[in-house]
Point group: C2
Chain length 324, copies 2
């Protein structure tokens, strides 16, 4: 491998993954990066197919994202939702007026028989996104939250409607046994020509696990001739975005970066070669190393474009060092 | 019949019909008015079921309508349409952000198996519309424009996308032979308990004809024990809204109120008992009378609420006089 011909695969959930994807996009030639995105959060709402993680990637990579809230578009308006309320419709999921165009376009193209991969490629192209971004699958995989109450909640009902309030006992992925990898994802795995695999700082249980467990892709990723580097989504005991830390507590795991490393070590043994820790978690480095993962300590909190680029460079250099 | 227990059926297309419907609503007890609306303009667009005439009725009766342009909602915004343009989607049909909620709700309810009548009743109720408003049918009837070029255009393609520019040679209603009257419309016809039937000032060819020709409803309306009063949609040689006058010219008819009366006389002989002419067309009264229709000359241009109420009162008093 050489930095003159990188070929990087990033696995991503929503907000955190999208930030690192932007960093990687900024520091790599556009043809050198492919992002494969979790679709377990996707759902049908008001007759529309909604792909929250993919839309976060799309809006972030195209510069349309609302950086403050981490979802939707900057300057979004809410006339549709106000009108839905007046009509007695469901309003718990925040569908902005601009965002709606994405869902209406996608739903119509899917109904016409196009694959989610093809729809995604078209939408990304229209918004000027030059890196390759694909869903993990064109089939339906639905993340469901098993609650301590015994209830089973569709992910967005748990995440948005119920604001992550129910205590969880587990997570399952409906349809994952029958789902196939998206063709582009499968082709990447079959070609084995990657220089680096980056697991973005995304929720291990609901963002990364669906990708890794789909068709046991993690076994293929593990067997590939390149390093797998994972960036911890837990920094200083907290998730920067989303319910990862709360989930860990409810699953009787410490909400620490080390516990994330242990989770991957147990569930996907031998997959992760390098584990990127934030400076605040430097004291976990020795224990991470004891799990057989090389630790890298660096700043992982991405606020500015420079933060994203710096982390991307660190991750790529780390990966290169592991490949030697 | 007595004014203390009126039972009025109004047949309506879009803008002109909606105005008179508001007038009738204002001067009648709410339980005394039923409006049956043309659905021939309805179409599927971007995966959404859109009912332009019904929506015009709904927005007008609920006070949400944009009175300036005659369609859509007052204060409507266009973020969705801007975003669709960016995504390379179709933007020729003006779907406002608020308006979209109507189409999304309706499409979802129809997909769940509810009838258009039931969906309409729910949406009207949510918006506080107290009079009964029903589609002419719950089935699909699609108005198609036969062009002099030989092209056949779906109505909204002709009307909105092509701005009524193609010259027409005829109009046809796809599916009308198989379509059934909406249950509420059929029940009204069967009960024969109406005090008055009002044909609103709507386009004869594309707004009123679909209603009258659906299951030959005009024969039942004609046979009913009450007057049928029609308000001319042509005033001073022009349609106040829409392409009626242009269509008449292309169909080799003079674009006059008298030609409207002649059209009804020939196509639905004996249906219309009273024909309401604007004062500007007073000179046609004798010729209208010669067709066997009683003429009424009054102001028919409805700009203010008072105009609408005055015309509604005139029409109802005229009908009462014809019933005696």
């Amino acid at each position: 491998m050489s930095l003159t011909s990188p070929n990087v695969l990033a696995l991503s959930g929503g907000v955190g993954g999208a930030k690192l994807a932007v960093g990687l996009r900024d520091v790599l030639p556009s043809e050198a990066l492919t992002v494969v995105v979790n679709t377990g959060d996707d759902f049908d709402h008001l007759g529309l197919r909604i792909c929250p993680d993919m839309d976060t990637l799309m809006y972030t990579l195209s510069g349309l994202a609302n950086a403050t809230v981490g979802w939707g578009q900057e300057g979004e308006t809410w006339q549709f939702l106000n009108a839905m309320k007046r009509l007695g419709g469901e309003t718990w999921f925040g569908l902005g007026d601009r965002d709606l165009a994405t869902h209406v376009m996608r739903t119509r193209m899917l109904a016409e028989g196009e694959s989610l991969s093809a729809v995604t490629a078209k939408l990304m192209r229209q918004l000027g996104v030059e890196v390759a971004v694909f869903p993990m699958t064109d089939d339906s995989v639905a993340t469901e939250i098993e609650c301590q109450s015994g209830d089973i909640l569709a992910f967005q009902h748990y995440f948005v409607r119920d604001r992550c309030e129910p205590k969880i006992s587990g997570v399952r992925f409906k349809g994952i046994a029958e789902a196939k990898l998206a063709p582009e994802f499968e082709a990447l795995l079959d070609a084995d020509a990657l220089s680096s695999i980056v697991v973005c700082p995304s929720n291990p249980f609901v963002s990364v696990a669906p990708i890794l467990e789909l068709a046991d892709s993690w076994l293929k990723l593990k067997a590939m001739n390149c390093p797998v580097v994972l960036v911890s989504p837990i920094v200083g005991g907290e998730a920067l975005k989303g319910p990862a830390a709360k989930m860990m507590q409810e699953l009787a795991l410490p909400s620490t970066a080390l516990a994330v490393a242990e989770f991957y070590h147990q569930r996907y043994p031998g997959l992760v070669d390098g584990f990127v820790l934030d400076e605040i978690d430097a004291n976990a480095a020795a224990e991470v190393a004891a799990l057989g993962m090389e630790p890298l300590i660096t700043g992982t909190v991405m606020k500015s474009a420079e933060d994203k680029q710096a982390l991307a460079k660190d991750v790529l250099a780390f990966s290169e060092s592991l490949a030697q």
